[in-house]
Amino acid sequence: MSISARHISKSFGSVQALQDVSLEVPAGRLIALVGPSGSGKTTLLRILAGLERPDAGSGPLFFHGQEVSGLSARDRRVGMVFQHYALFRHQTVAENIAFGLAVRRRKQRPPRAKIRETVAELLHLVQLDGLAGRLPGELSGGQRQRVALARALAIEPRILLLDEPFGALDAKVRKDLRKWLRAFHERIQLTTVFVTHDQEEALELADEVVVMNQARVEQVGSPQDVFDYPASPFVIEFLGNVNRVAAGISGAALQEHDRLYVRPHDIQIQPQDVGGSGLKARILHIFSAGSVAQVTLQRLEGGEILEAEVARAELETRQLHEGQLVTLFFRHIRVFSTSGEQRWIHNALAPAGTK
């Protein structure tokens, strides 16, 4: 089912958590709300669930064209997985999953045998067969998360909400579960919104990414869109590493207050003066554990520090070493001007002859 939320605002006392935020989620999509802590993403998720009420004057909220703003969280049929799962600690896995069915009014409640069957199906779906009798305290973090997921799915929710689904897991389990969740979503095709502060997670997992900052939506788009065409300095800084470069680059039509950004992998390092419009810099440090080496550079003019990424092989062929004087070329520069205009400049700083 599709979700449509329009002009949502929410404040807690004097703190503005959401300011005129709108969100459109087409049916069956997997959407990430991503942003730093305090950006309002969890508040938005809780408003969708009905656990928080938007401020007066906010627009309506629709699930699949039906207005749900007036419905309580109980009646919205939303499946939600909390960051710390919120499993009922004194109930077994099976009782947890059956909860949403067992509390239904007598007329709508499936018979006991049917509930047992549903629980078994769900346990199979989340690959936890055989753990029905365990208590949540006896499960690993990843298993608990899947129990929470099965419990949320038991009520056949119209939408699924996940709050920092991988936040409480260690790095290895995180990666595995990420892949598993993506495949799981392909299978069940349920409209899903998840919250994360990890941009990598958002870009890898979601069909569409909603970047939030300071109670507002900064940009909405596919992972590739927001990465390749970041709409604001915040987005480019938040999604992946980036260098902010002081102006003073010749050869590009730049205004005085333009903000320039270069991704570390777009910096090319030449060991000697090869001519062209390159910047002169000195290598301060080379950190070469991993497939890509991180090179810290200092511009000679102005003393600015830049981070570059160079393939290990290239590091060796070019014989780069600490303390060396080098020339830098930028393959792509992202420019944000004060007027709000944004553009890429390609090969503005290039070795002589390639321009």
Partner: protein, 292 residues
Amino acid sequence: MPLMLQDPPLIRRALIAGALLVLGILLVVPLAAVFTEALRLGLGTALTALTEPDALHAILLTVLMAAICVPLNLVFGLAASWAVAKHDFWGKSLLVTLIDLPFSVSPVIAGLMLVMVFGLHSFLGGLLEGWGLQVIFALPGMVLATLFITFPFVARELIPAMQATGREEEQAAYLLGANGWQILWRVTLPNVRWALLYGVLLCNARAMGEFGAVSVVSGHIRGETNTIPLQVEILYNEYNFVAAFALAAVLTLLALLTLSAKSVIEWQVRRQRAHPEAERLTNRVPLHQLPR
């Protein structure tokens, strides 16, 4: 090598001995005295004293007081702690202060307040008297006094327990379609059941043992408004030591029973926490046994 966080053995032993001595003088000796005094003229005499009609009535009245006050305060305490721990509302800190009020008001003052409000010379007391309901120097006043004194016990135990479990489980239950009662019975209460039982035990112990407030409102009518503590006082003042101490021993036994029940509960809670996950969190392995 274990960390050197320990005092020299001599000082350690001296401290332990000191603590035991104080404990002995303040607790063990008086407790023993109660039982020896009660049994000084033999078990038979003590039992005879206990089966006196007035004594029996005092015991029954004490049990009745507890039977009325504990369930009522269980409900009040549950409602108050649920409101405080799981909801935000205007005036919450005022409510918390009010819950603690009986702890800070002297029981005698509490009794006097009731006499002021419900005494024969007060407006309310006169009105109720007109309808044939006597509050002061009768059971209703004693129940009110005991209710007031024992009000905080259940709530005080439950609020921290409920706050510790957070609100997410309740929110999850709500999203899954449970109504308020279902959330309370299926999620909230099972999570705090030991704290609840503990609070009830403390409330019960105090309801049976309360002296000051009840003393003011009861009127000390033998065989009518005397609970065990009041009867003990009267008997003692009449130099009827065996009877006084025999009754006191009954109350003491009830207290010891409560204490052992409490220990069993605490043992249960510890055992429950011994789940593999909890064990890692509570770090039960002594520092010097950790692998390094």
